[in-house]
């Protein structure tokens, strides 16, 4: 095995301003602490960890975007990094012009892009819009084009940060396929993702970063993931109910007051044991002023990071634009028969004005509850749980 990346005692400190007693002082923030790592050719290294654990900082240092505070990295081979899809896209320029720009920016020469142009366009599926300025593209189209360019870069070392979070399912599949292809060609990939399924499927090695430290590093990808998830589910914010804390960020439109998961008898619960019984969400929101097109909702995320679905007040009837009364609004939402696998599920709540702005984004929402699904008890064999599927319905296999 040839070693392509050698990281020795890498640390990075950021100075960031913080407010303390109405004074702004700067504080050192250690994004990475003494990380050492050796990556061999052909390694598909998954990097997991919470937001702020140092994953992106590590990738930024590897792509030479920022310099380490101390430590040393030795790399051999051409490095291609895709830290954010659409980097370098210029809205006024056409798709074609942007392919060249973006390619240059990622380290391809014009001659190289000429050679791969057809292939890139084919992969992106935006062939009909090549002469259209990119600003008229949908975000999905932009993503597709950007990934297409990056995927054809053919570097010896490919660095990817959470690009699969965007794009539709079909395109995600295509991207994963392309990455597998890169993998099979013996190149090295460093891959940051919150999507544990993608990590599990793609990577042959996984490291877990926690507060800038490397806490796990193993070729047993699943075991690193489950350790990480166990740790994540211990977190205090995964309560089965949510009540407005005192220090929450306020806005002048809407605020969440409380969220509970209730059973049919209106008792708060933290576990769903059986999808045949009825469960309800009780959500109280306070509305401060008459706001047209206001909507609140939530999304359900599995412990692997897969988003199962979204639900929002705007789903019911989008002509019903003034659903909210000024004051406290209480919703009772019956949960559908989901037939989820056993596990921990998280509900992130969000609020926004339709077609205008997001007030609370589901991606960084502190407004969340979690519940456990434990349906094993009703099964003789829990084979279902070992399958890599999201749902685990028990169907009635009956001979006719």
């Amino acid at each position: 095995m040839t070693e392509v990346i050698k990281i020795e005692n890498l640390s990075k400190v950021y100075r960031r301003p913080i407010k303390r007693d109405d004074k702004t002082i700067t504080e050192d923030f250690w994004a990475l602490r003494d990380v050492s790592l050796s990556v061999n050719q052909g390694d598909i290294l998954g990097i997991i960890g919470k937001n702020g654990a140092g994953k992106s900082t590590l990738l930024k240092i590897l792509s030479k975007i920022t310099t380490p505070t101390s430590g040393r990295i030795t790399m051999s081979g051409r490095v291609g990094s895709l830290l954010e899809v659409g980097t370098g896209f210029h809205p006024e320029m056409t798709g074609r012009e942007n392919v060249y720009m973006n390619g240059n920016v990622l380290g391809m020469s014009n001659a190289e892009i000429n050679r791969k142009f057809e292939e890139i366009v084919d992969f992106s599926g935006v062939a009909d819009f090549l002469e259209t300025p990119v600003k008229r593209y949908s975000s999905g189209m932009q993503t597709r084009l950007a990934f297409a360019v990056a995927a054809h870069l053919e570097p010896e070392i490919l660095i990817i940060d959470e690009v699969l979070a965007v794009g539709d399912a079909e395109f995600q599949k295509k991207c994963l396929g392309k990455m597998e292809e890169i993998e099979n060609s013996g190149r090295t990939i460093l891959f940051v993702s919150h999507n544990m399924n993608a990590i599990k499927n793609l990577c042959n090695r996984c490291i877990w970063l926690k507060d800038g430290l490397k806490v796990e590093d193993s070729r047993q990808v699943s075991s690193v993931i489950s350790k990480y998830l166990q740790n994540a589910s211990d977190l205090a914010n995964n309560l089965s109910y949510w009540e407005k804390p005192i220090n929450i960020k306020e806005n002048n439109i809407i605020s969440f007051e409380s969220i509970y998961l209730l059973d049919a008898g209106n008792n708060p619960v933290d576990q769903i044991a059986d999808f045949k019984s009825e469960y309800y969400l009780n959500v109280k929101v306070k509305c401060f002023k008459e706001t047209p097109r206001l909507a609140v909702g939530f999304r359900v995320v599995s412990e692997n990071g897969d988003i199962l679905f979204y639900s929002s007040t705007s789903d019911i009837d989008d002509t019903q634009l003034s659903l909210f009364r000024v004051g406290v609004n209480e919703f009772k939402i019956k949960l559908p028969e989901l037939h989820l696998k056993s596990g921990i599920y998280k509900l992130n709540f969000f609020a926004g004005i339709l077609g205008e702005c997001s007030i609370v984004s589901p991606d960084d929402s502190e407004i969340a509850i979690a519940f456990t699904v434990d349906v094993n008890q009703r099964r003789a064999l829990n084979i279902q749980e070992d399958r890599s599927a999201i749902l685990a319905p028990l169907l009635d296999w009956r001979l006719t």
Partner: protein
């Protein structure tokens, strides 16, 4: 030529104390040249893409400025521009002045303007101020064509020393690049720098013989212009284009020394602040 291949194929070391030689830096900028050229073209295209008159603006702007100065200073104030008709005189100065001041202004703002890239991809950042310089050099040569038209119109003879023009452009570029290297990282940290540069250049314009010839002032003040490198550049360019007198050798020594010293200071300041800028931008 795969851009990064030649740089990355050998062992590539990243650590906290990367000391790169000047030659390495120049070589690196050269290897990434396609990005810089693409970014310069992006700037040029984006600037004119949504305007109806498009590239005509490159011509309209200096003509209008020239017209205003001709009316105010040539007609009302009656600045004496010697044998050269005032419009040709003022245009030959404005040409280089606008080139210099735009270079300095855009160079100073270049790190902020390209922050979207700086944070996401690596390329030699010292090349970033060059993007604006490339774009405005194109504008300069277009404006030069207008000067030629004006010269023919007013019957001003072309000079053989015009072959020095590219050299003068190069010296102007070096001086404004040096300024951009100093001010661009400072501006990325404190935006006030950009504002101050904006006012500063306006002020400098009146201190330099752009709209008036040096002979407009009493003779015992003329030596002062020797210590203004921009004045030397302007008079040097006028000498090459319309055959006015060449600045003194003392003026050239000051110009050369300023350019070299500023380039060295610029490189030092830029290197010192580069990583701070990347983390804070």
């Amino acid at each position: 030529m795969p851009v990064t291949k030649s740089l990355n194929v050998q062992k590539n070391v990243i650590d906290s104390s990367v000391r790169k030689s000047v030659f390495y830096q120049i070589k690196e900028i050269w290897l990434y040249r396609e990005i810089f050229i693409a970014l310069a073209f992006r700037d040029i295209k984006a600037r004119y893409k949504q305007s109806v008159l498009g590239l005509l603006w490159v011509i309209i702007q200096p003509i209008v400025t020239c017209l205003v100065f001709t009316i105010v200073f040539g007609y009302f104030v009656r600045v004496d521009s010697g044998d050269t008709p005032y419009p040709v005189f003022v245009f030959s100065g404005l040409l280089l002045w606008q080139f210099f001041s735009r270079n300095l202004g855009e160079g100073t703002g270049s790190l902020v303007a390209n922050s979207a890239f700086i944070n996401k991809i690596y390329f030699p950042r010292m090349g970033i101020p060059l993007i604006g310089l490339l774009a405005s050099t194109v504008d300069f040569f277009l404006a030069l064509v207008i000067l030629f038209v004006l010269m023919i119109w007013f019957g001003v003879a072309f000079q053989p020393q015009i072959i020095f023009a590219p050299l003068i452009v190069l010296v102007t570029l070096s001086l404004s690049y040096a300024g951009a290297l100093i001010f661009a990282p400072l501006n990325a940290i404190y935006r006030d720098v950009g504002m101050a540069i904006g006012y500063g250049t306006q002020f400098l314009m009146y201190l330099s013989p752009v709209i008036y010839p040096v002979s407009f002032l009493p003779e015992n003040y003329h030596w002062l212009f020797d210590f203004n490198p921009v004045a030397t550049l302007l008079d040097w360019m006028r000498w090459a284009l319309i055959g006015t007198t060449l600045p003194s050798s003392r003026a050239f020594i000051v110009l050369g020394a300023t350019a070299i010293v500023f380039l060295i200071i610029g490189r030092t300041v830029f290197r010192k602040l580069e990583s701070t800028v990347v983390d804070r931008i």
